[in-house]
Symmetry: C2
Subunit: 244 residues, 2 copies
């Protein structure tokens, strides 16, 4: 058993997309050995943990993700650090952390990551399954500590990254319709996009490849399926310029 480091933690904002909504994977905090009405276990938190003394930070984050989603190769980005001296000030939350970690925790700086997963491929660890929930990103309840703030900042980082990196495809199935792609951009950016402009714009992208297939099992006219061609994207981008 490795020793946990009581000063540093990692927390992961795991985003998923179900075709219509952007969701975040949250987990009910661990039950205390003895029931305590002030510290109920049905309060939600971000997946995360104190790091172990022998782990590098990214390793800790990957471990948390693997436990939670059953996925190994996953998009993971360290986007910020939260270290306000008062961030653990909620005495019930702090008590919960001290009891579950069995450590005299005082100040914890947390390294925050966000991760993008395909909801239908994720497969949480059996023992955690009953405690995890996908919650819509704009309906997050009050979480422990400063976890709501961490999600807000992760959303900002995700929006910014979406302007320059093809990360949206991490959230889509391998084959997707243009409608799904547009929905994804709309929910992340938080505003409707004009259908015609959107189609016109993506029609010009040589790294969006139309497949000789249509969607099936839908009760409307089946739409054309597309895939993202990563190689072409990076080749095209190399030739492109930069903002001044």
């Amino acid at each position: 058993m490795t020793r946990l480091n009581p000063h540093i933690s990692v927390d992961c904002v795991i985003f998923g997309f179900d075709g219509a909504n952007l969701k975040v994977l949250l987990i009910e905090r661990e039950k205390l050995p003895e029931e305590n009405p002030d510290i109920p276990s049905d309060i939600l938190k971000l997946p995360g943990n104190l790091i172990s003394d022998t782990e590098d930070l990214d390793e800790s984050a990957y471990r948390v993700l693997r436990e939670l989603t059953g996925l190994d190769k996953i998009f993971l980005k360290q986007f910020s650090v939260f270290g306000n001296p008062n961030r653990l000030d909620n005495s019930n939350d702090l008590e919960w952390l001290r009891v579950t970690s069995e450590l005299p925790v005082e100040r914890v700086v947390t390294i925050a990551y966000y991760s993008l997963v395909k909801i239908n491929e994720s497969n949480p660890n059996e023992s955690l399954l009953s405690r995890t929930k996908w919650i819509e990103a704009n309906e997050i309840p009050k979480l422990i500590f400063d976890h709501n703030q961490i999600i807000d900042k992760a959303l900002d980082a995700l929006r910014k990254e979406l302007r320059t990196e093809p990360i949206g495809f991490e959230l889509l199935p391998k084959k997707f319709t243009l409608r799904q792609l547009q929905n994804l951009y709309e929910v992340i950016l938080g505003n409707k996009l004009d259908n015609r402009n959107f189609r016109k714009k993506v029609g010009k992208l040589d790294y969006l490849v139309a497949l000789p297939e249509k969607e099936n099992g839908v009760n409307h006219k089946p739409a054309q399926l597309y895939k993202f061609d990563k190689k072409t994207f990076y080749k095209t981008r190399k030739d492109a310029g930069f903002v001044i």
Copy 2:
């Protein structure tokens, strides 16, 4: 006197541009109370320090910057965290840190920032002046701990940010020539840009405003001076799209 936190530090990569070269502000590590030939004081490091127990992370970084540059309003960006369990393994460096901090330091996670300053406006604290040096970014000697790695990653982050944000202007004087602007992009991106294409491209930018002035005190034909119009930049960008 506030207590230092022996587990967390901030380190700042302070970039400056002298019109031709990209430079990094480094500082000789503090002398030990007793001379020790194994731990010389002329080894360079990034400006940084253990955080104090009552400070938020950004506060610590701003404090370090203020001490070093005399500047208050400064571009500062937290870009990564370094927490490898072995990052302090150099025993001389570790001994130096223990003696100067008077703390039983074991593992330190450092929050890394980069900062952009106008070299001619910076004005280091008198007591630090003799210990600070601007060194060309591609001629950095071996620094303490993993500070060389931190600079490499800061350069990557700076290059990436330059593609989407108008941060280059933080490094230029308020009034600059197109030659200076092009030099800046060339040294940061690490490659020559075609003069004609560059002029053509920047000629179209409505947020680069030609001033009714030319440079003076130069021994060549004085070039037109320009300024960056931030307001116009952000207005223009709002209308622009995003990469898919």
